[in-house]
């Protein structure tokens, strides 16, 4: 999980936001979408329901619905149109670790 998919080219001077992905502490920047937060810390967002592997978003404009994630409290949100928040706990894997 060391590699990240997204790479920051600009706008790095923003306050740090701490959040948690599957129990792993991560850092993002204020104003990052949940998708940006996940993909500057890794290369996946969720596993496809029907077994064809990993997904990491697609359209980034709220059209394809391929980046829905679950928070630890059960709330579901669309990663590309939601902003990351301090202390957010994101769950991207099911109980079997997929």
């Amino acid at each position: 999980m060391a590699a990240s998919q997204f790479h920051r080219l600009a706008e790095r001077d923003r306050p740090v936001v701490r959040f948690v992905v599957d129990g792993r502490p991560c850092e993002a920047l204020a104003g990052d979408t949940v998708l940006t937060a996940l993909l500057t810390n890794g290369r996946r967002v969720r596993s496809a329901e029907f077994g064809d592997g990993q997904r990491a978003g697609f359209c980034l404009m709220g059209a394809c619905q391929d980046c829905w994630v679950t928070l630890a409290d059960g709330e579901r949100l669309r990663a590309c149109t939601s902003f990351v928040a301090e202390g957010m706990r994101i769950v991207t894997r099911d109980g079997n670790g997929r």
Binding site: G31, R44, M61
Partner: protein
């Protein structure tokens, strides 16, 4: 009823110009927009706290972007502006709008739909791998978040957006491994005389290509994607060059798209009749050049009624607002109406030339391999969809959807729909207009169950 405020859905260039036009006539429209800040996609504004100047964000379009943003901001207090608002149903003079976790029923007498567009894609083997995005998505990552979608990026597809986004990435310091255009060089040569009529728009396109060349970015025309390779994320793209040779290019990100599709679900729910548009190769809601539709009180503006770009969206937004005003009994400025329609006609001519220069490669969809995932929501392959058409005798796209689940997932066919229609039509050896279109369904996007209860 008569003093019920007009409603505008969408705050891109069309919606903003429509709102300003209604305000100038003394009305206070309700403006509903899904985004947290207005501007639409092409003039999308970064979140608060981002500091890049307009020139860095919008390049040649910086002045236009600033003017539109200022126009929207200047309307504050004179419009009922509701950002972060998803309109998810429309029927019988009322719409359902979800905002901040609360639903509102908004009754309307007249309404302008300015719902915009999304990337039009054609699936190819491997396209669901992490690291692969739409061209529009790649642009949003950069413009809205200051991020590149990867370190070694390939841009694939066709249309003006292909070169624009690749150029924006190169300028921002990303490594663009290649720009691969499915349109053959000869198509551009054929379209040249009509493209020249595009004036500044055409000149900008040439400039992006020249700037990419000057940076040493490899450009190729007339290519065909074969497959994206990778296990847990994309590692390479295989494609066929114009001379028939197979090529492989390593990358950790890929952006692709083949022009745009209109966002038409709400027009459908509002019972506006659709017609097949042969230029755009999509069913579109019927509208007159004025923006009027066959449904009284409903108007269409911008790319949601047919792809024509941001400049046309501004003109058609104002035009639709003027039609709405005229239908409310306001006097019409005939000179202004004529000027707007002339402008729209000129852009329509250029738009047709663009379709010649960057033809939609429908053959890629028709010839899609059976094991290619066609519907990424439901994991349905092209072969499974074809079997629904053949063995189950579904000669219509909604029936094929019911049998195969292709187009039944969370995106409601926004992603797979254009290609699925071609796969089905080709399998049945029928023209695409004869197999129908995926019907819009409320809610047009996923909403919490508690909202509908």
């Amino acid at each position: 009823m008569a003093d019920r405020p007009p409603v505008i859905v969408g705050a891109g260039p069309a919606g903003i110009r429509a709102a300003a036009t209604l305000v100038a006539a003394g009305l206070t429209p309700i403006v509903l927009d899904e985004a947290p800040r207005g501007g639409g996609q092409i003039y999308r504004r970064p979140p608060a706290g981002f500091t890049r100047p307009y020139q860095a964000l919008y390049g040649f379009e910086a002045a236009k972007a600033r003017r539109l943003h200022d126009e929207l901001d200047g309307l504050a207090g004179r419009i009922d502006y509701r950002p972060d608002a998803l309109v998810w149903d429309m029927r019988r003079g009322a719409l359902q709008c979800l905002s901040g976790g609360r639903n509102a029923t908004i009754a309307y007498r007249d309404l302008i739909l300015a719902t915009g567009a999304r990337d039009r894609i054609i699936p190819f083997p491997g396209w669901t791998l992490p690291g692969i995005y739409t061209l529009g998505g790649a642009q949003i990552a950069l413009k809205y978040q200051g991020c590149a979608i990867g370190r070694e990026i390939v841009f694939l597809g066709t249309g003006p957006l292909l070169y624009l986004v690749a150029y924006q990435y190169a300028k921002a310091g990303a490594t663009v491994r290649a720009v691969l255009d499915t349109a053959p060089f000869a198509a551009k040569r054929r379209a040249l005389p009509a493209l020249l009529a595009g004036g500044a728009t055409f000149a900008k396109g040439l400039w992006y290509v020249a700037a990419l060349r000057a940076r040493g970015v490899p450009l190729a025309a007339g290519i065909r994607p074969i497959a994206a390779a990778g296990d847990t994320a994309v590692t390479a793209l295989r494609y066929r060059a114009a001379n028939g040779a197979e090529r492989r290019i390593a990358c950790d990100a890929l952006a692709f798209g083949f022009g745009l599709s209109s966002e038409t679900q709400l027009a459908d729910l509002a019972k506006i009749p659709f017609r097949y548009d042969t230029l755009q190769q999509q069913f579109l809601p019927s509208r007159e050049s004025s923006g009027r539709t066959p449904v009284a009180g409903l108007y269409l503006a911008g790319d949601g009624g047919g792809i024509a770009g941001a400049d046309a969206a501004e003109l058609s937004g104002e035009r639709a607002a003027l039609a709405l005003l005229e239908d409310r009994g306001h006097a019409a400025d005939k000179l202004r109406l004529a000027a707007l329609e002339r402008g729209l006609q000129r852009i329509a001519g250029f738009r047709a030339a663009l379709e010649t220069a960057f033809p939609f490669p429908a053959d890629l969809a028709a010839a899609m391999a059976d094991d290619t995932i066609l519907c990424r929501c439901e994991g349905v392959t092209a072969g499974e969809f074809r079997r629904a058409a053949g063995a189950l005798d579904a000669a219509e796209v909604n029936r094929a959807k019911a049998f195969s689940r292709c187009g039944m997932g969370r995106c409601q066919g926004r992603v797979c729909g254009p290609a699925a229609a071609i796969v089905l039509a080709a399998a049945l050896q029928l023209p695409p207009e004869s197999i129908g279109r995926l019907r819009g369904q409320a809610p047009v996007k996923p909403i919490p169950l508690a909202v509908t209860a």
